[in-house]
Amino acid sequence: MVIHGVRYRPLDYQPTSRWRRGWPIAWNEFRSMFKMRWGMGIFLFILCFVPSLISLGWQFIYHGAYQIDSDVPWIEVVVGRTPRLNPASISFYLDPILRESFWVFMVLTTLVSCRAVAKDRPTDALEIYWTRGISPWGYFLAKWAGSFLLMGTVFIAAPLVVWLVGVAMASDWTQLEDSLWFMPRVMVGLIFMTAVLTYAAVAFSAFSRTPNRSSLIWAFFILGTAAAGRVLSRVFRGEYSWKAIDPWDSSKRLVEWFAGVSPWEDYDPTAAFVCLGVTLALLTIGLYRRLRHVEVIA
């Protein structure tokens, strides 16, 4: 008895939309992190959540899920001394990302985003993608969406979960009332930052012939601009706007600006906008050259 026939049959189907055609590429890109040898990708991905897991743990302690016998209301004392540990403050959600997650950003972009297109060149996979129902730009956007999804789980979803858990655990609505005014702005800022940085990393990958070279150039670019920004801001005696040449720093400042956090250094967001805008514009101009069908032949 034939349970499942696998013979070749004529096919009648209604073609899916452009967006749905790009989705498998995005999903494949997202999964690439978990397909590394010896479970290395899974291990690193879990490690990326450490700052958010610490915040989540603090939420549990703060809301009394974990009791410490003491006569002194120690939580109030700690929060009083370190306001960023207050779950009703912006810093509680932003700091684990903006101050403690540079290495997370480097790990995820170096291992996935900036290899996205470059890894398809040595295996001639571009020809497989581009001779089907998807354009080179559709392919690029799908790759970007996959990277965005991966980084978004750490940079967007994790702080959101930490906030929702805190709100749910609180004994009254005070935490929700205190944080509702800034949380949507924090989310918009983080979405913007994740989108911009993954776009830059995936664009970098379109310029390299091999994924390793792409990772190396990207790491040099990020670390180099960060170092140059620090040096220049010291040379110009506290002119912190020089740091804006570092895409991580400038997008970080813009998130703070979105969220309404007052800058802790004399820093003009216009410089961040200009630097980030110029970087993205240059990358996009470069992409117009690299995302042509004729690239398949080269």
């Binding site: 096919l11 189907y13 899916t16 749905r20 989705w23 590429i25 497989i128 129902g133």
Partner: protein, 305 residues
């Protein structure tokens, strides 16, 4: 005609890869023949919309290649390059190719199983492609070309890197696709025997120009008949005897061996009569059939001239 080219010119900078090529590809398997660099792959790439032609027109069924979304639904392309998507197994790659072409997820998965079964990779479909042999990679490439059930297949050097057994299997598959499943195929190759084995028509390219085109049976048909005759014991001149019996051309090709060209309406019996005339005996008589190689070499020679 499933593909039509009209004065197609393709240039890469200052290099002209295809020069005013005009050809029609009738349904069934058609060979696109030419030496390396003759412009075969350039024509396929132009048909896929990867290269913009400098001049001329192309048509695939009723579509223009510039309408890439619609035309590619009807085209399955198997590249000459050894392309694969890193990190995927055979099944995942074929299913992904189906989804990108526009198949719904479930259909793409079902279809991937079907085509991998068809190309003979049912046992190896869950192995990572990076570990496939050359033959298996060619098969998985054919699977990705077939996954969306296209009407037209562009196969660029499909037997590249295959051992004799793999080559036989691949040609058998192509033959099956053309004859049993009714696919229209352009088989681009420089291996004449492959084209002769599966195609009913050919388009011959030399230096970017079409030098011959048409059904194989017509191209290989002789207007004259050529025989190689071995005789022994001639008492008079055999050449004169052959001429008396209607030979158009006689070329001695070794001791007592002659290559004799006869008009189409003159039979081989005239050669025996000529042998009797000169007092000789015929030891061996072989009719020389015109092969695709003769057509190709002749066309190339004419092209160069």
């Amino acid at each position: 005609m499933f593909v039509t080219l009209e004065n197609l010119t393709i240039r890469y900078g200052s290099i002209t890869a295809v020069d005013q090529a005009s050809a029609e590809f009738p349904s069934g398997a058609v060979g696109l023949l030419g030496r390396n660099g003759a412009g075969k792959s350039s024509i396929l790439r132009a048909l896929l919309g990867l290269v913009l032609p400098h001049a001329g027109e192309m048509k695939i069924l009723d579509f223009s290649p510039s309408d890439f979304e619609e035309s590619r639904r009807h085209i399955g392309y198997m590249s000459e390059k050894d392309g694969y998507i890193a990190g995927l197994n055979g099944f995942e790659m074929v299913a992904l190719a189906g989804e990108i072409t526009g198949l719904p997820r479930r259909d793409a998965a079902r279809r991937a199983h079907e085509v991998l079964y068809l190309v003979g990779l049912e046992e190896q479909r869950y192995r990572e492609i990076a570990g496939y042999s050359a033959g298996m990679r060619q098969k998985v490439k054919l699977g990705t070309a077939l996954v969306h059930d296209p009407d037209i297949l562009f196969l660029d050097e499909p037997t590249n890197g295959l051992d004799p057994k793999g080559r036989k299997e691949m040609l058998g598959l192509i033959d099956f696709l053309a004859k049993d499943l009714g696919k229209s195929i352009i088989l681009s190759s420089h291996i004449l025997a492959d084209v002769e084995r599966v195609c009913h028509s050919v388009v011959l390219l030399e230096k970017g120009s079409v030098v011959a085109a048409g059904p194989l049976s017509e191209l290989t048909r002789h207007e004259v008949r050529v025989f190689v005759v071995d005789i022994a014991g001639a008492t008079t001149s055999p050449i004169e005897a052959f001429e008396r019996h209607g030979a158009l051309n006689i070329e001695p090709s070794g001791a007592d061996r002659y290559r004799v060209t006869l008009p189409e309406d003159v039979g081989a019996s005239s050669l025996f009569a000529a042998a009797v005339d000169c007092g000789a005996m015929v030891h061996r008589l072989v009719e020389h059939k015109r092969s695709l190689e003769d057509v190709f070499l002749g066309a190339v020679k004419e092209g160069i001239a």
